[in-house]
Amino acid sequence: MAQPSADESIDGFRARVRTWFAEHVELTGGAGAESFDAVESARRFQAALFDGHLAGLTWPAEYGGQGLTTAHQLAFNEEAEPYVVPTMPLLIGLGMCAPTLLEKGTPEQRDRHLARMLRGDEVWCQLFSEPGAGSDVAGLRTRAVRDGEDWVVNGQKVWTSGAHYSDFGLLLARTNPDVPKHLGLTMFVVDMRAPGVTIRPLRQITGGSGFNEVFFDDVHLPGDAVVGDVDRGWQAAVTTLMNERVSIGAGGGGLGRRLGGGEFAALADVARRRGGLADPVLRQRLASVFVEERLLELLSQRIRADVQAGRTPGPQGSVAKLAGAQLARHAAEVGLDLLGAGGAAWTPDDADAERWTQALLGAPGNAIAGGTPEIMKNILGERVLGLPREPAVDRDVPFRELRVGGGRS
């Protein structure tokens, strides 16, 4: 297989992608985000992609990317469309951490990690949120204190997706509590297997455990773990979060379709089998889900087109995030409407009841993870529409005088 170059013709490239997928079809297929099996599938797929010179198409070649154009990326996406690409467990690393390292990391950090991330050899997670710092990420309390050249970290993170199978994480910690909250944060690379790191799965209301609590107990980090500048971690974190929203909005970073097919198709199938298709009222609700889903697809297409064309995505990222959560909620509610009393109690073999009650339980999480509706609407109102911010009571106050979470910082 030839080394790619930016001159490679789109047609030739497309043929190469098609051949690769045909030859590696056994590596594609469905996978959730929560299990170790899923991580292994993702790693194997990504390694094969890397070895086939198809990973990181538009990334610089010096970090293991292919240095190709967005036209190539577009062609790849079209060819990948029929396949379920099992890379979900890698998306936080590739979609959020890697862009942050590319933009803010030291040359050594990029050399050390980027190619390995791209090959699936390193799985990454993101360690920002804390019990007392949810929407207000900059209100976090985990401390990193200098110890000679090193840093010593103490504190607790929460809502860390995939911490239990990750090799590394991007950690945001407070390095100066005597300045206003945004000015005393630093970002670090942390080895998730370092002594003092304890990971505890967090049980969600669905019963699943995709998230974790992560405890830092005198964890030592070397001086070169700092990403960007000391006390300037907020700028790096904003880079990460912006990529998160675009990533959620685009429906999984542009790689393949949502797993499991659309909500409408699944609901219509339930309605067909259980008899709701004859009910004009339920038909109206089904059609509303159809419309919402179609709009979300169109939004995601536009975001992907923008990203691939190198344009900064407009407000569509936040809009898609909100619309996606709304769709999940509406679809689940229609699912329960279709089930009727069968959604309150069912025999264990009733897969419809299992799926849609799980969807109902998962829906609130969709609205919260990655930014609550309140935060997203503030962003839209202030950054997109230019409406004035609220009078801030925490801007000019040293962090240690601030009340945070349930108590004082």
Binding site: R203, A344, A345, W346, T347, D350, A369, E374, K377
Partner: protein
């Protein structure tokens, strides 16, 4: 008012001390989902028989008082069979007009010794045949509230005479009961299968439609009270969190987005309360408006509780999405409650039919 207030204080006091969240979770997680000790304490206060006439050993109170009890039970997510026994079971017997069955069953029910479940209220799925040795029932009844633990099953079944109410002993031959998976972790349901199971006629054969409709109205009124209790509780949880959780240097309840979300919950709770009260009062007054009042309460209180329970999770953010936090127990209860006695769509359609009927 004083009597209702006293009753509320006693029930709340009991449930706060004897059925706090940890205890509710323990009972709900236990194999039977039932706790005899706590049931005994409820019985000590006369709650299973609160709306059973004094002549049958009950407290002889009305739905106004029953509503107070259920509101508190809903507030605490009490995982015991009050709704099935004290409302569905007792009312089915009372409304059947079967004085013999009443004299036999109601005193035991009021003493907490007879847990009664009612099946086939919404849609009869059983047939009844009168044979030489009495009635035999066949069929599958799904979603019987507290059906697996009940001592006596009251089942609406289709006989030649039309829909008819029957009693089936828990030990009857041909009877099997399978616990179902439930969305609501604090309320059990069962599938009941009957194969030529001997049954006792309750009331008059063919009178089942009338009885079922009357029981349903009362079930909706009672459920509405329970929903108001649950909705009020999640509103309080949300408000408490919004007052004490600080982000951006402020209590989150000082932000209009959160404040107005709580206000929306309050608006729904206040309206749900008058709807439930009106339905309960219509039962006690015996007004012909009861079916309308019951359906209004059924559709609105169910929706209000569900929206409030969902809003409570949103106000709590991530912590509200964890298993350990009680928010999801109410969210599950709320959606489940909305489905038990007919969907909101069915209630609205029923209202239109009632209105059309009233116009002749």
């Amino acid at each position: 008012m004083t009597m209702a207030d006293d009753l509320r204080a006693s029930v709340r006091g009991l449930l706060e001390s004897a059925a706090p969240e940890a205890e509710v979770r323990r009972i709900a997680d236990s194999p039977s989902g039932f706790d005899a000790g706590l049931w005994g304490r409820l019985t000590g206060m006369g709650l299973p028989g609160i709306a059973v006439p004094e002549e049958f050993g009950g407290a002889g109170a009305g739905f106004a008082e029953l509503g107070v009890v259920l509101e508190e039970a809903g507030r605490a997510l009490l995982p015991l069979p009050l709704l099935s026994t004290a409302v569905l079971g007792a009312q089915a017997l009372l409304l059947s007009g079967d004085t013999e069955a009443q004299a036999t069953c109601l005193p035991q029910l009021a003493e907490g010794r007879l847990r009664v479940a009612v099946g086939g209220l919404g849609r009869a799925a059983c047939s009844a045949v009168a044979g030489p040795r009495g009635w035999l029932l066949d069929g599958i009844v799904d979603g019987v509230l507290d059906g697996a633990g009940a001592d006596l099953l009251l089942v609406f079944a289709t006989a030649d005479e039309g829909l008819t109410l029957f009693a089936v002993e828990a030990s009857a031959p041909g009877l099997s009961r399978t616990p179902l998976r439930t969305l609501d972790l604090t309320r059990r349901q069962a599938r009941v299968e009957l194969h030529a199971s001997p049954a006792t006629l309750i009331g008059t054969a063919g009178d089942g439609d009338r009885v079922a409709a009357a029981v349903l109205d009362r079930a909706l009124a009672a459920m509405a009270a329970e929903q108001v209790g649950g909705a009020q509780r999640v509103l309080e949880m949300a408000v408490e969190y919004a007052r004490t959780r600080y982000q951006f240097g402020r209590a989150i309840g000082s932000f209009q987005a959160i404040k107005h979300r709580c206000a929306d919950m309050l608006i729904d709770v206040e309206r749900a309360r008058v709807a439930a009260d009106a339905a309960l009062a219509a039962v006690d007054a015996g007004t012909p408006d009861l079916p309308v009042a019951a359906r209004v309460a059924g559709t609105f209180c169910g929706e209000a509780f569900f929206l409030a329970a969902a809003a409570n999770i949103q106000v709590h953010g991530g912590i509200g999405f964890t298993w350990e936090h009680p928010a999801h127990l109410y969210y599950r209860r709320a959606k489940s409650s909305q489905l038990l006695f007919g969907s909101p769509d069915e209630h609205r359609e029923a209202l239109m039919r009632l209105w059309e009927g009233s116009r002749g």
